[in-house]
């Protein structure tokens, strides 16, 4: 009898823990509500490397402007069924020679509490500027890529991704 009650209380405790994750609740909001709240929404929990997209871009480019460029081919899904595994691919149409090459590709997001995903430092040995990975997105947001060339200039490109089930919980 005692053991049955003990197991019951364990089950209730674990059920409470799984139900009450704020991240899960936020991520399951309907698309309509998300469109309204996305502008003013703050990240639900503070992470160790919090940084806004604007600050991250400043850190990468300094005071220099990153121009929109169609030399950058950013491939992401329009709708991510699973926000925990969103494929991101960046290709840059630029030589990779000693005097002129893509120095780095930076992948950023607009709504995770840490907007930095990855910095990739390339060399001419890569021969073609390309990087692919999979990222976690907490909610519908933009993926932005900043590309730095060896001549000190910066280019950028961005795409929106609808996230149906948030990937950070």
């Amino acid at each position: 009898m005692e053991r049955r009650n003990f197991i019951k209380s364990l089950m209730m405790a674990s059920a409470a823990a799984t139900v009450a994750t704020p991240n899960m609740l936020l991520a399951n909001e309907s698309a309509k509500e998300e469109a309204k709240t996305v502008e003013n929404k703050k990240a639900p929990l503070k992470g160790p490397n919090d940084m806004s997209l604007e600050d991250a871009i400043k850190v990468i480019t300094g005071d220099k402007e990153a121009k929109e460029s169609d030399k950058i081919k950013l491939t992401v899904p329009e709708i991510a069924e699973n926000g925990a595994v969103v494929p991101v691919k960046v290709e840059v149409d630029n030589p990779m020679e000693e005097k002129n090459y893509v120095k780095s590709i930076h992948v950023l997001n607009s709504k995770n509490s840490n907007s930095r995903c990855a910095d990739i430092m390339l060399t001419p040995a890569n021969d073609k500027a390309y990087f692919s990975t999979r990222v976690k997105l907490a909610e519908t947001q933009e993926i932005v890529t900043i590309v730095a060339l060896s001549d000190g200039t910066f280019m950028k490109a961005g795409k929106s991704i609808k996230v149906t089930i948030g990937g950070c919980g």
């Binding site: 929990l45 925990a84 509490s113 910095d119 060399t123 390309y130």
Partner: protein
């Protein structure tokens, strides 16, 4: 007694499988790693899982780095990274990677170009 170093499962894939000197191949690196953000709760204990994510990766060929990466916790669990590499000779690609808790690991794969 010294703690046994946890061997992490990692894989380097070179695509295509058959290539010659002068070809540019795709180098994929996949590793089993939680990439915990420090914001998610453990479903069993209800406690926040501390941040534990790979943060530095270096790809080298015969000891010479050709790609470096700095990555953060927004990368998916069991991360996948892919870059290009121009094959110049027979040798070995090594990926050295470390995480925010100081764990360092390494994985290598031989580069074996076919004779032209």
């Amino acid at each position: 007694m010294a703690e046994e170093k946890k061997a992490r499962k990692a894989m380097i894939k070179i695509k295509p499988k058959k290539y010659k000197v002068g070809d540019t191949v795709k180098v994929d690196f996949i590793v089993i790693h939680p990439m915990d953000t420090g914001m998610a709760k453990d479903k069993e204990t209800g406690k926040i899982k501390p941040a534990h994510y790979i943060n530095d990766i270096t790809f080298s060929f015969d000891g010479e780095p050709f790609t470096k990466m700095k990555v953060w916790e927004s990368i998916s669990t069991n991360p996948y990274f892919s870059v290009n590499y121009k094959v110049t000779k027979k040798g070995k690609i090594t990926v050295d990677y470390s995480d925010n808790l100081g764990e360092k690991n390494s994985k290598s794969k031989k580069v074996k170009p076919k004779q032209a």
